[in-house]
Amino acid sequence: MNGAHRNGSRWTSRSAVHVVLVLATLYSVLPLVWLVTSSTKSLGDFSTTGAFELGEWNLGTNVGDLLAEEDGVFLHWAVNSLLYAGVGALLGALICSACGYAIAKLDFPGRRALFAVTLTGVLVPTTALALPLYLLASELRIVDTFWAVFIPLLTNPFGVYLARAYAEAAIPGELLEASRMDGAGELRTFFTVALPLMRPGVVTILLFQFVGIWNNFFLPLVMLTDPKLFPITLGLYQWSSRVTQFPSYTPLVITGSLLAVVPLIVAFVVLQRQWRSGLAAGSVK
């Protein structure tokens, strides 16, 4: 009797847990489902069919219209986003790893000061930097160029913080000593011994910096006026601000949004094991 009662209450609490999880998942996923169903609709179906129903299949036409708009400017945006985020994250992750490794494992003058300044850098709001960065860039005459967006986004103080944690956890000091005994220089030791050991951490930094740059909006908004240099986010924002006057932009904005989101979701799903273990390593200080 008692046992049955306990089983019953366990069963109820188990169902309650799953109800909570289902609700959280619906909240998280339904807007994305809406994005998928909406990008398959024509402008007419968009306002006449239900939000999550499929109308007439129109995705092909929508993508075609999107790619044709303004002489294919969307493709420019996609390529730009890939360059800003792809090259930026690769280079940024390498720079962070080198610095984090040096702070964790090497002795050099100013090491503590550098780490302290880096930690403060994590807390500086981007809003506070936008105006001075813009004015400095205009003095260097690089406003409205690739570099005005690319260079500031390379700076990733949080990446250095993570890299230091990974280096401390993953690299035994004896290994570095052994490498030095073999006559390898410090730089070579970093690239051949330390970097491979830090790999899950480096992949995590890379992925999150990629997302950070891909999703960034404020800096391009401030720096760029030439649509050919826009990343996807800024381009879609510009189109969306015309929607009230010109409803025909709606399918473009929605289909463009879907195409901008899909690569990131795929990356997170495919690289799941990597970033999960990377986050785990980072949380153990």
Binding site: S13, V17, H18, V20, L21, A24, T25, P31, W34, F46, S47, G50, I95, C96, A98, C99, Y101, L106, F108, P109, G110, R111, T118, L123, V124, P125, T126, T127, A128, L129, A130, L131, P132, L133, Y134, L135, I151, T155, P157, E186, L187, F190, V211, N215, F217, F218, T233, L234, L236, Y237, S240, V243, A260, V261, A267, Q272, R276, L279, A280, S283
Partner: protein, 314 residues
Amino acid sequence: MTVVTDRGDSSARRPAPSPAPRRMGGRAGRARLAPLLLVAPFALLLLATVLVPIGYALYLSLFTERLSGLGFSGPEDVFVWLSNYGAVLSDPAFAESVWNVARYALVHVPLMLGAALVLALLLDGAVVWLRQVWSLAVFLPYAVPGVIAGLVWAYLFSPGIGPLNDVLPWDPLGSEGVLPSIVTMATWQWMGYNMIIFYTALRTVPRDVLEAARIDGAGPVRTALSVKVPIIRPTIFVALVFTVIGSLQLFTEPLVLRSFTGSVTSTWTPSLYVYEAAFITNDYGRAAAASLLLALACAVLSALVMRLSTRRSG
């Protein structure tokens, strides 16, 4: 401007008095150079894109542009002490932006972090089918750029297009409803990310500690509240700092909503205020002062949160 640049430069690369590492022979020079080579790229970036700009903003905030004399020689920069700060602090539009962001943070921060923590504890503690699938699904909104999240929700909120306008107890794009709508958007975006962070931290709780709690007769809820949560406190506080700072900088979501509703003014949050002052009105002094006040608020609040975290655990 050069003065500021020099100051920023020297403070970042101040030669430290610490003794050189003990190394023998001719390799000493190279060995000391190598760490600096590894560090240099990041140090230079930090200097050029964070420290110098902050110094420059400080400089800008003390000047204002005025037409000199009869206005023949064009505008010139005049040193005005702290009057830009005074102008910002006495501006009703700025006060309103602070009020908006304060109300937003007071709802969003506890709601989002609380939900993330509960979900993480459920995933960690309860018997759950398909654990990976749930956590990934809830995490996905993090991968959606803020602009696109804003657009998707703006459509979902729009009367006649999205279903939410009929369902929600508030008017999602009305002047009073816009705040809960933005909370809904931001919570959607960050809940899963923080859930994963908490969940990852919970996985590191030693199993023997949990076993001991179970033997002492603690149920799952009791174990969660009095064993697990205290152990992952540092993680929670770090998340709290980042969330508070992020909330104060609220910018993208309200800006995107501006295309869909007139309820969001051009100075609705402090970040929008800075953007408006800097790039629409071109009042650099006022913009710099407002942005530094925002940075100061971030610094003070994060110091406060960290203080709280060490005091309670000590």
